[in-house]
């Protein structure tokens, strides 16, 4: 099965210059836990609700004075939408992560593939990823 048959297509993104507060607002409104950070059409990072909690508030920063660029994760592991799902699983296991950014071959952002998406296709594959990743409750 190809990644694009299972991924969650991502239409939403955020600019690195946005404030952390606005990013939190957007995640709240959209009922999502992470957003790709896109600058001039290029993927430059990922920001999660946990980043905002722990790297802004948890470090004594002010969410209005802090930009997305200051707290986003800059090392984004990516795959291509026409790759096989098993390639994606291998990438997640190797990097100990639960989510991959999915790119089209022209490097534009196509969406995300998460361990949740895997669970819809194979309980075993999803569970392998869970076991390989560090446990955060």
């Amino acid at each position: 099965m190809k990644i694009n048959e299972l991924m969650t297509p991502g239409l939403e993104s955020i600019s690195p210059k946005t404030t952390a507060k606005e990013a939190a607002r957007k995640m709240h409104d959209l009922h999502i836990g992470s957003l790709p950070v896109v600058d001039d059409g290029e993927l430059v990072g990922i920001i999660t609700d946990r980043d905002i909690c722990c790297r802004v508030t948890g470090m004594g920063r002010d969410a209005v004075m802090t930009s997305v660029a200051d707290v986003m994760g800059k090392e984004v592991v990516t795959c291509f939408d026409d790759q096989d799902v098993t390639d994606a699983v291998q990438l997640m296991v190797d990097h100990h992560i639960r989510r991959l950014a999915v790119l089209r071959r022209d490097n534009s952002m196509a969406g995300f593939l998460s361990v949740d998406d895997l669970a819809r296709n194979s309980h075993e594959l999803a569970s392998n990823v869970l076991q390989a990743t560090t446990q955060v409750h």
């Binding site: 507060k21 946990r50 905002i52 949740d116 194979s122 075993e124 869970l130 409750h137």
Partner: protein, 137 residues
């Protein structure tokens, strides 16, 4: 297998009157994304990194003066430490959630049972809980 054989018993907690900044700091320090809220050892609620981002930072609450009990979830799903794991997993699936607070028969928290814990013993069990949890969105 009993829940107590599989659950994570290393649990960090906060008090209901602690500030959100304190809770965020604790989440960053310990790596946990969820903290049980305890009053005299009794479970009052649960607070997550997402609650702090989306229910406090997103709407501009003051994180020093807002306390944990203002944004915590009070409707906490629990199981007993001497309950069967299969039973607890079924509970998670039915409620579309990924973790349960584990309590003893005095409602004192003894641990957290998460889908990650399930993955260590059964890929099928963990995968089906994860799949059910994604149906919530």
């Amino acid at each position: 297998m009993k829940v107590q054989e599989l659950m994570s018993s290393e649990v960090e907690s906060v008090t209901p009157r602690a500030s959100l900044r304190h809770a965020a700091h604790k989440m960053r320090e310990t790596g946990f994304g969820v903290l049980p809220v305890l009053d005299d050892g009794r479970l009052l609620g649960i607070i997550t990194d997402r609650d702090i981002s989306c229910n406090a930072i997103a709407i501009g609450r003051d994180l020093n003066s807002t306390d944990v009990q203002t944004v915590m979830t009070t409707d906490v799903a629990t199981c007993f430490s001497d309950q069967e794991v299969d039973d607890a997993a079924r509970q998670m699936s039915e409620l579309h959630i990924r973790r349960l607070a584990v309590v003893d028969h005095d409602n004192c928290v003894t641990g957290i049972l998460s889908v990650d814990d399930l993955a260590r013993v059964s890929g099928e069990l963990a995968g089906s809980v994860l799949e059910a949890a994604t149906l919530e969105h």
